[in-house]
């Protein structure tokens, strides 16, 4: 099992690399391939391709780097390779980003979504959503809001908190085995049910969750806290 991590030196602003470390703990035999922004991505298919959140300047560099691979990434998505995108990594594969000055940064155009920056008004919120009948908790801290376009399919249904934008009933996007969410940080260790689903999508059927008991208890405590403290 191969886990390709795109640009980890830049794309891990909020503890996000623990998504990969957690998968490695669940899959001790997995091979992790870190691709630096100075290198070329492998995109060999199978396993998982992971990319985490990045600064706004890095976003431009990453889009430039991945643009020549747009067709290949599209093929991988279509053929069912698992992708996990957290934070604003989603925007890289979206259609475009509208900067604060109104200018437009073209994305790869592989996801039916666009985003709009508002740098002086950072959005912070906690999130509780539903995925495959289970609850997902998470945290959002971002300079953008996103608007899905035709054909978009949400990842999590919003129960408490904010979706892709303040009026959107869902958070993140799902295309085949591509999971893209604005939730930041260690989404997988914080959500055992979602981690299980991703492992299945990667083809790691029946894989045991690392520290599954502790992860489940932490998750349960967090969900209970959401219900008691978050309106």
């Amino acid at each position: 099992m191969r886990i390709e991590v795109l640009f980890p030196e830049y794309c891990s602003l909020f503890g996000d690399l623990f998504n990969v470390k957690y998968l490695q703990a669940c899959l001790p035999g997995a091979e992790r391939v870190d691709v630096s922004l100075r290198e070329e991505p492998e995109l060999s298919g199978g396993g998982l391709v992971y990319m985490g959140p990045m600064s706004e300047r890095t976003q431009e560099k990453v889009i430039k780097k991945l643009m020549p691979y747009k067709k290949r990434i599209g093929e991988l998505i279509d053929s069912g390779t698992a992708f996990l995108l957290t934070g604003n990594a989603l925007e890289v594969l979206g259609s475009h980003i509208i900067r604060e000055d109104g200018s437009r940064l073209e994305g790869l155009g592989l996801l039916p979504v666009y985003a709009k920056q508002d740098i002086m008004h950072r959005h912070n919120s906690v999130f509780l959503g539903e995925w495959n009948g289970a609850e997902v908790t998470g945290f959002k801290s971002q300079f953008t809001m996103a608007w899905p376009t035709e054909g978009a399919k949400g990842l999590f249904t919003v129960k408490k908190g904010v979706g892709l934008n303040k009026k959107c009933p869902y958070e993140g996007l799902r295309v085949n085995n591509l999971f893209a969410t604005y939730l930041q940080g260690p989404v997988l260790p914080l959500n055992p049910c979602f981690a299980r689903g991703l492992l299945e999508a990667m083809g790691a059927h029946g894989a045991e969750l690392a520290f599954g008991g502790a992860a489940q208890e932490a998750y349960k405590a967090r969900v209970a806290d959401f219900y008691s403290k978050v309106r």
């Binding site: 030196e9 830049y10 602003l13 909020f14 503890g15 996000d16 690399l17 623990f18 470390k21 957690y22 703990a25 922004l37 100075r38 600064s55 706004e56 300047r57 890095t58 560099k61 740098i119 950072r122 912070n124 906690v126 908790t137 945290f139 801290s141 300079f143 930041q184 940080g185 260690p186 260790p189 914080l190 690392a210 520290f211 502790a214 992860a215 208890e217 932490a218 405590a221 967090r222 806290d225 959401f226 403290k229 978050v230």
Partner: protein
């Protein structure tokens, strides 16, 4: 800026409110300024300023550095005022200007030292031009407030006025790049035994050359991105410092200042505190104080007891150590200090954000940027995680490689000292956030009692 009759009315109201608050026994370090700015947005700009304004900012260490600078100024007889007991955001600065002025707003002292929250610089610096400004370092901090370091760097570059002399950390390639056109002095700690090229930390906020994005060749990387490096592509490198700590002992540092060597006492020899002392020395020298006088004054200065305090009990120690919540780098420094501290250690972790724990679900992502891996060291014999997010801390510790049998965890903070196994550690560290100092002090008292009982039991 022009002082209108309305400004004088706002000043009068603010002073009156301050007077009333003081009569009511309140400290009035924030509200009068908040009120003044609410009534007159450009209030700070309109207030007359002292002849010399010193500003100290940066992600970590700014409070300690400001306190050191103020202590030295006090001991060398300088007449100044500062926001040591107040807030470091715009309302605190405004309150300080109000409290240190006459009824017409004229400052009562010629020198002011302001610790500034970097995120408030947009509300302060356009209205108050510093005569000199120090930046301790730039790291990722609270995700909610500070987003990411590039955002903070851009923010400071935008709001620090052109031409203001800067005192900067030469061992931080991001900090040293601040306001490139401004005059500057740098401080640095020369390579020390144990400094290596590798990275031992999760957070690396300078992953490549800040100018061209090229690969960096590190001479040494002390922690996170603190170290000295050069770009393989464009040749950009860490700047040469005018204030370089060349030799360190447990109690002092030898600093090369323009080719001359001076010794300065250290209250604590952990690198973060050496950087803090060195930053204070560099700033004070740039202000014109003689190194010998600074050294003399520093001899009687310690670290604030609200940040670090040791209490000895029959040869063992109960240690309060600040570990700012939501700040992964500050916590990582604390964890490494604990690992490097001699003997066996137990650690009580109060890491919850005090306000979030009461009202919402704390964003725990930062736990995964903090180097809990230092606490997996065999010398850390017991870890006690207490608070609302204790299960999350427990999971993070397990993922860091800490054996489950070394960890206790519980929702209530009151029971933390009770589960301590006092027979095992030589030292007990209590890590706490800025807002939980009272809880930490209470726990320290309980820990001291348990260590005393243990000592008495052993004596029997």
């Amino acid at each position: 800026m022009k002082r209108t009759p309305y400004f004088y009315l706002v000043l009068f109201i603010s002073k009156l409110v301050r007077f009333l608050l003081l009569k009511l026994g309140r400290n009035a370090t924030n509200f009068p300024g908040e009120l003044a700015i609410w009534l007159c947005r450009s209030f700070i700009g309109r207030m007359p300023k002292p002849e010399k304004v010193v500003c100290i900012t940066g992600t970590n260490g700014k409070t300690t550095v400001a306190n050191l600078v103020e202590d030295v100024l006090e001991r060398t007889g300088a007449d100044f005022y500062c926001n040591r007991n107040g807030s470091n955001v715009y309302s605190g600065v405004a309150s300080l200007l109000i409290s240190n002025s006459d009824w017409r707003g004229r400052p009562t002292k010629k020198l002011a030292v302001f610790e500034l929250d970097e995120r408030s610089s947009n509300l302060i610096l356009p209205y108050m031009r510093p005569d000199i400004m120090l930046c301790t370092n730039i790291f990722r901090d609270s995700y909610k407030r500070n987003a990411h370091p590039e955002f903070i760097l851009d923010f400071l570059n935008k709001y620090i006025p052109d031409g203001v002399p800067m005192v900067l950390n030469a061992d931080d390639m991001m900090c040293s790049e601040l306001k490139p056109g401004n005059p500057r002095a740098y401080f640095s700690i020369a390579r020390q035994p144990g400094d290596g090229e590798g990275s031992r930390n999760i957070v690396q906020d300078v992953p490549a050359c800040p100018r061209c994005g090229g690969e960096l060749k590190w001479d040494f990387r002390r922690y996170h991105h603190i170290g000295r490096a050069a770009c393989k592509d464009c040749g950009f490198s860490s700047p040469k410092a005018g204030y370089t700590a060349v030799g360190l002992t447990e109690t002092d540092m030898e600093v090369d200042i323009g080719g001359e060597s001076f010794r300065f006492p250290l209250a604590n020899s952990a690198y973060i505190n050496v950087y803090n002392s060195l930053a204070a020395v560099a700033l004070l020298c740039e202000l014109g104080l003689e190194p010998g006088k600074i050294a003399g004054a520093l001899g009687s200065v310690g670290i604030s007891a609200t940040r670090y305090m040791e209490e000895e009990v029959n040869g063992r120690k109960a240690i309060l150590h600040l570990a700012k919540g939501q700040n992964p780098v500050a916590c990582s420094r604390a964890f490494q200090n604990i690992r490097d501290y001699p003997g066996k250690k137990a650690v009580i972790l109060f890491l919850d954000d005090f306000f979030d724990a009461q009202h919402t679900v704390e964003n725990v992502s930062w736990l995964y940027d903090a180097d809990f891996e230092f606490l997996a060291d065999g010398s850390v014999v017991q870890l006690i995680a207490a608070g609302a997010r204790h299960w999350d801390v427990y999971l993070r510790l397990l993922l860091a490689g800490v054996p489950a049998e070394r960890i206790d965890h519980m929702p209530g903070t009151g029971g933390a000292a009770e589960v301590l196994r006092p027979g095992e550690p030589d030292s007990v560290f209590i890590l706490y956030d800025v807002y939980t100092i009272r809880l930490a002090e209470d726990t320290q008292r309980l820990v001291v009692e348990r260590l005393k009982k243990e000592a008495a039991k052993n004596a029997d």
